[in-house]
Every structure is written in C-alpha cells, then in structure tokens.
C-alpha cells in the first residue's frame, strides 16, 4: 500500500453491506479517522435509517471557506440537521435508495468521502480564486500589473490539528499550500527530513510535472503577517510548501489534486512509520545472522579438566 485511501473504509464496507439487501440491523458506532475526525454511524429511529455524523476540529474555519456549499453540492437531499455534538450529518433511508446499482455505489463512495469533502472547501475556493486571478492577470504584462493582481489573495488557514495547520494561498499563476508539521520524536524528525529532501529532489530528478516542494524551519514568506505561527528555532516545527502550477489546477485534475494533497500529512507519517518497520525487520534479520556467526564461533576442542577416578586433577607444571 503506497498511497492511503481517501475514503473511510468502515463507512464504505458498512454501507455496501447494508445496500446489498442484508436484513436491517441496528448500528451504533463511533469511529475515528485521521486528524481527530470522529464519525458516528447510528440508526436512531428505525433500523432502515442510517445517520452518519462527522465531527471535524476545524469545522468553523471550514464553514468560513464555504464548506456548506461543497457539502450541499455533494450530499444534497441527504443532509439533515447535525446531531448534537457533531458538525454535519447525513441520513440515508434504506427503503428509499436509488434504484440502479451504479447510483448506489456512487452514493456509498460519496458518503465514505465525507471527511475529504468537508476538508475540500478551502481548496476549491482557492482554485476558483486562482482561475479568476489568472483571467485577470492575462490582461496585463508582468511589469504593468497592478499591485493587487501580482500579490495574490489572502492566506486561508485551517487548523486541522492541535498544533498543525494548512495554509492555502491563491495567486495568479499558482496556488501555494503550506503544511506546518511538528515532530515530537527525534527519530521521526530525521526520517521526516530525509523524506522531505526526496520530495524536494523528485522534481529535479525524474518527475518534471510534480509540484514544487520546499521545506524549511522558518515560516515561509507567504505566511508573513499570519499570527500565531510557531517558529522553528528548535527544529521541531517545519513548513512544507507545495506550489501547485496551473497544470495541476485544470478542471479535470482538481478533485484528484485535492484528494492527494489532503492526505499528505497522514501519508508522510505513514511512510515514516513504514520505513521504521522496514529497518526493524532488517535489524532482526541481521541480529539473527550475527547470532548464527556467534554460535559457529565455538572453540574447536575445548580444554577440559581431566580428573582421576578419585577426583584429583593433574596440573601441567609450567
């Protein structure tokens, strides 16, 4: 498994099973997803009505950036007023499902992408903003452009974890996405650095189409004027900047780009952990090999103390 899935596997498998016509059962499960997102899947009234609620830490910020519209577009008539303690709910009536199989599968897919869609709003807004600015900027040459066009829009901040955030900024020729990352663990920081260096180098080496990646410990220039930034003097905090170029932002690619970039942090941490697992297995293997060598390294004919029948020993006079 190289990439993480975008959808929640539990919701997906659960709905697929329910939709397949299995006898209705009552469900009541609270499950987590990455980044402190919590889902509550339940059947509060009857067994045929499944309520799926999501709680996102930064939902207020997402609402500011237009999450409501995105969710309404995706879920339309399934939306119900949010359950207490949660931010957003959809209700699926098993007796009232779309008739054909494809529409059902599509519904399962959409619901299992609930977290992704909720987080997608600021990205979509930034991409739309980018398109508008590109349009505007095409009227000017680079020298004559007025101040407002060259500079780009304001920075949208999503504090999706307690100490980490995503910052998105749209300009006329690119969209910049900045992740602030934090490493509690010394080892992880080292691994992280190696990985990020690979990201930075990837563009130089093989994949010319990749977005440009920058990594530094101080807040990058784009974030000037944003309050509450941790500075990376002790090396714990790092800022990873993705520069998305117009070719990543074409209409066909947008959704894919959003899905990919959202999972960046989890992807990153998953791979740090997977490489540790890999190194551990090599360590185990090597230890086993060394043990073999040690076992082989017994002296060939060990000098044994020889005794007479009465228990006396002979000592060589030296």
């Amino acid at each position: 498994m190289l990439l993480l899935d975008y959808q929640n596997v539990l919701i997906q498998s659960l709905l697929t099973e329910r939709f397949s016509g299995a006898p209705p059962v009552s469900i009541d499960q609270v499950v987590s997803d990455f980044d402190n997102v919590a889902f509550h899947v339940s059947t509060p009234e009857t067994k045929s009505k499944i309520l799926i609620s999501i709680a996102v830490k930064c939902y207020k910020e997402l609402l500011q950036y237009g999450a409501q519209e995105v969710l309404e577009r995706e879920y339309g008539t399934y939306i119900v007023s949010p359950e207490a303690g949660y931010d957003f709910s959809v209700l699926i009536d098993l007796d009232n499902l779309p008739a054909d199989q494809e529409a059902r599968e599509d519904l399962v897919r959409r619901v299992s992408l609930l977290k992704r869609n909720a987080m997608a709003a600021p990205f979509e807004r930034a991409f739309a903003d980018f398109a508008r600015r590109q349009e505007e900027a095409s009227k000017f040459t680079s020298e004559s452009a007025p101040e407002g066009v060259r500079e780009g829009g304001e920075v949208m901040a999503i504090h999706y974890r307690d100490e980490e955030a995503i910052y998105i900024k749209a300009s006329h020729d690119r969209v910049t996405v900045i992740f602030s990352t934090i490493f509690r663990e010394e080892t992880d920081r080292v691994f992280g650095k190696v990985f990020l260096q690979e990201f930075v180098d990837a563009r130089r080496r093989a994949i010319q189409n990749a977005p440009q990646v920058l990594f530094r410990n101080e807040p990058p220039l784009e974030l000037q004027g944003v309050r509450g930034l941790a500075d990376g003097t002790n090396g714990e905090v790092g800022y990873v900047t993705f520069v998305l170029f117009p070719r990543h932002l074409t209409l066909q690619r947008r959704q894919e780009t959003i899905s990919h970039i959202q999972t960046f942090r989890d992807y990153f941490h998953y791979h740090i952990k997977a490489s540790k697992a890999y190194i551990h297995s090599r360590m185990r293997r090597r230890t086993a090999d060394f043990l073999q060598v040690l076992n082989r390294a017994r002296p060939e004919n060990e000098e044994k103390e020889r005794k007479t029948a009465s228990g006396r020993t002979f000592r060589v006079q030296g």
Partner: protein, 439 residues
C-alpha cells in the same frame, strides 16, 4: 488535547483479528490474521524467505544460500507490497503472493509480519494517527514477557502510540460477562471457557490474575465440529458435503440437547425436526441438503468426545471440574460460581445450560460422597453457574472495549514518555483495570 480520542482496541487471535474503538459494542473490523507478501509462502519456521533481505552482507556472512546479496541495490518499496485480512486471502489465491499467519497458537511468531500487519490495520483500516490514540492490545494467558516487550517496542518505537495497555484475553472475557444480567458483582474471578476455531482453553482467573498452572486445553474446537458435520453429511451421501456447507449447517442449525438418546427418539417422533438446507453455488445452481441428527450430534462432541475422536476422551464438563479442583482451594467457590463462555464455538443454543447441569451433577455427587464419609454432616452446597451473554462471540474484544472507555483507563496505560524513561521492561507489569482496589 481538546476532546479525548477513543482508545483503539485490537485483539489479534490465531484465526481472526478484531479491531475497533473502545465504547462500541462490536468491533469495526473482523478479518483473518493473515498477511500476503510477494514471493512464495515462507518456511514453517518463519526465519528464512519472506523477510526483506539485508543489504551489503559482510563477506563472512554469505555462507550457503546467499539469498540477500542481489537485493542490496534495491531502493524500491517492496516492503509495502503486501495485503492483510480478507484482501490477503484474495491476493494469495492469485499468483505472486504467498500467505503467512503471523500468530500461531495465540502467540506472535513472526514479528516482521506482525509489525506490518499492525501498520496496515492502523493506517488502512482504522485510519488513526497512533500518536493521538491510546491502544489496548490483548495477549493469550501464559504469554512470555519477552513477547510483551516486543509488542511494546513495536507499538512505541515504530508507531509512537500515545499509550499502551496489554490485557490478558481471559480477563477481558470475564469483563465482557459483566453485561449479563446473571452477573451481580463485577468480580474478576471466574473460569473462562474460550473456544475458538483451533483449540479450546479452560482458564481459571482469580482476582484478575490467571492461575497458569491450572490451565487446560482441549483439542476440540470449531474446526473439529465442522469436520464432524462434514463427515456425517458424507456418510449419508448428501449432494453437497463441502467444508463450507458443513460450516453453514453448523452455524445455522446446531444446538445442544439435554440427552442424546431422548433426542434421537424425539427426532423419530417429530419428523418436522429434520430440516432442509439449500446451497446455492456461485454458478446459480442450487441443491438441497438434508439436515438431521447432526443438529444436536455436532456440539455433542464437547460432552461425549468419543463419538468424534479416539485419542481425546475427556468430556468438557470433567475438564472444567478438574481445572477448578486443581486451583487453590480458597478461590474454587468463586470459580464454580462464575464460569464464563467466550468465543464462537460456545454460541450453540443451550450450551451453557448443559454445561452447568453436567458440572452441577459432578459437584453434587462429590458433596454427597463426602457427606456420607463424614457420617451424616450436612454440606452447605456449592453454587455452579455458567454465564452466557450476548457478547460471547467477540468476548475479549468487547471486554477491552468496555474497559477502554472507562475514564480511568488512561491512568492504567503506560505512556510513551514512561516507555522512553524506563524501556521495554515497563510493560512487564500493568495494573489491573477493574481489579481489586480500583473502584
């Protein structure tokens, strides 16, 4: 942390792994503890192929096979090319992948596979960042402390999980029985009968501690019942006697009867007790299979093993009685009073009732004999109670979920900071949740 994230409860059994979050009443995922990796299935010892090869082997090490040498230049992601659970079974049926079972007899055998199995369970299925969650893992009784330390090393060093608690499955099964209405006091003393697919264990637990010297296991469990049903179907020459059909018949129709002889005559008197089972094969054809005496004969092999096997002949109630009799005398009363069932093979209807009756017979006979020997003294009697409850199937997991949602759970865990301070030996001791002195 703003709101407490639910603890992750993982119960890795020999056959199936149960994964989920504390507070739920059923695991989110139940799938085989299997991992499929590139390359053929590894040797039985698990110390050879299948593991990633060590690069740049020093020359003095390359003796004989030298399987590792050519891999030194590999910088790819071969180590991530694997599947777990149901996907592993699917992948292994195709070419290129070999299947491995990292847990044998309840204990982790291959830590490389287990580490990757956990990695995939956490990131792909549960989708949690381990740094945000506390983990509750289970271990079989008599698990060596080294295995615990290995588990802790992986959990803390690879995954940086926030906190860890490792509980004994039998103790969790006792905790799961607290949901039953028959249980009045929440004690952690009792006898656990854990019958899964491969083997059945009878484990006495006193005040949350397993009495290791008295554990008995019985080589009769779910798989044997399936084989027995299959052999009965074969003997009758049914149209379909595959293992899968036998398993379906076992799960859907079997029950425990109070007396075989009476049950036989009852079947002869009431012909509607014979049922028909319809098997639909993937190609759409369907055949019907008669279901007869195996309905009560199959689970009967627990009580009369001689009808199935010729080398193991002790009935389950006798084993349970023996286990309790070999335990310290001061806990026997508690052990008889709280006999808890756990695992899929204890789900037959009236299984608990029959077991209780048989044990009770044995105990009463013994009391009567000693009354006679003592010359007319009267005994106060002994209470025998077998507890059946709704959560039996995933008993240990559910017990973990119950304990994991209690507010004090986190204070029982060892945290990452403590691990860094003391080292792996810290997990040799855990305080008992819900044990004496906690409430």
């Amino acid at each position: 942390m703003a709101s407490q994230t639910p603890a992750v409860v993982i119960d890795n059994g020999t056959g199936f792994s149960k994964l989920g979050f504390a507070g739920n009443d059923s695991p989110s995922f139940v799938f085989p503890t299997a991992i499929a990796t590139k390359g053929g299935p590894g040797g039985a010892g698990g110390s050879g192929s299948g593991r990633p090869a060590v690069a740049n082997k020093p020359s003095f090490l390359t003796g004989g096979t030298g399987s590792g040498g050519a891999l030194s230049s590999k910088r790819g992601t071969e180590d991530l090319d694997f599947f777990i659970g149901d996907e592993a079974l699917a992948a292994a049926s195709g070419p290129g992948y070999g299947i491995h079972y990292p847990v044998r007899h309840g204990q982790v055998e291959n830590w490389d596979y287990m580490e990757r199995f956990w990695s995939n369970s956490i990131f792909k299925y549960l989708r949690v960042e381990p740094e945000d969650h506390y983990f509750l893992l289970t271990e079989p009784p008599l698990n060596p402390p080294e295995n615990r330390e290995n588990t802790a090393e992986i959990m803390f060093e690879s995954f940086n999980c926030a906190g860890l608690y490792i509980a004994v499955q039998a103790v969790l099964a006792l905790a799961a029985s607290w949901t039953s209405s028959k249980v009045s006091d929440r004690s952690l003393t009792g006898t656990v009968i854990d019958s899964g697919d491969g083997v059945t264990h009878v484990i006495p637990v006193a005040e949350g501690y397993v009495i290791g010297s008295s554990i008995k296991s019985i080589p009769i469990a779910g798989r044997d019942i399936t084989y027995f049903v299959q052999s009965l179907l074969r003997d009758r020459g049914e149209a379909d006697s595959s293992l899968k059909t036998a398993e379906r018949v076992k799960e859907e129709y079997c029950y425990v009867c109070p007396d075989i002889v009476k049950e036989f005559s009852r079947f002869d008197r009431e012909p509607d007790r014979f049922l028909k089972h319809t098997v639909t094969s993937p190609n759409g054809r369907s055949v019907t299979v008669d279901v007869g005496y195996e309905r009560f004969l199959a689970p009967e092999i627990f009580f009369n093993p001689e009808i199935y096997s010729s080398d193991f002949l002790t009935p389950l109630p006798t084993v349970v009685d023996g286990v309790i009799q070999s335990s310290p005398i001061d806990v026997r009363r508690g052990l008889y009073k709280n006999i808890v069932l756990s695992g899929g093979s204890t789900l037959y209807k009236d299984f608990g009732r029959r077991l209780q009756r048989d044990i009770k017979h044995m105990v009463d006979a013994r009391i009567r004999a000693s009354e006679v020997r003592s010359g007319g003294k009267k005994s106060g009697g002994l209470e025998v109670q077998v507890v059946t409850h709704k959560r039996q199937r995933h008993g240990p997991w559910f017990g973990g979920s119950l304990l994991g949602q209690t507010p004090e759970f986190r204070s029982y865990c060892h945290t990452k900071a403590e691990y860094d301070e003391i080292g792996p030996s810290i997990v040799r001791r855990f305080n008992l949740i819900g044990g004496p002195g906690s409430t």
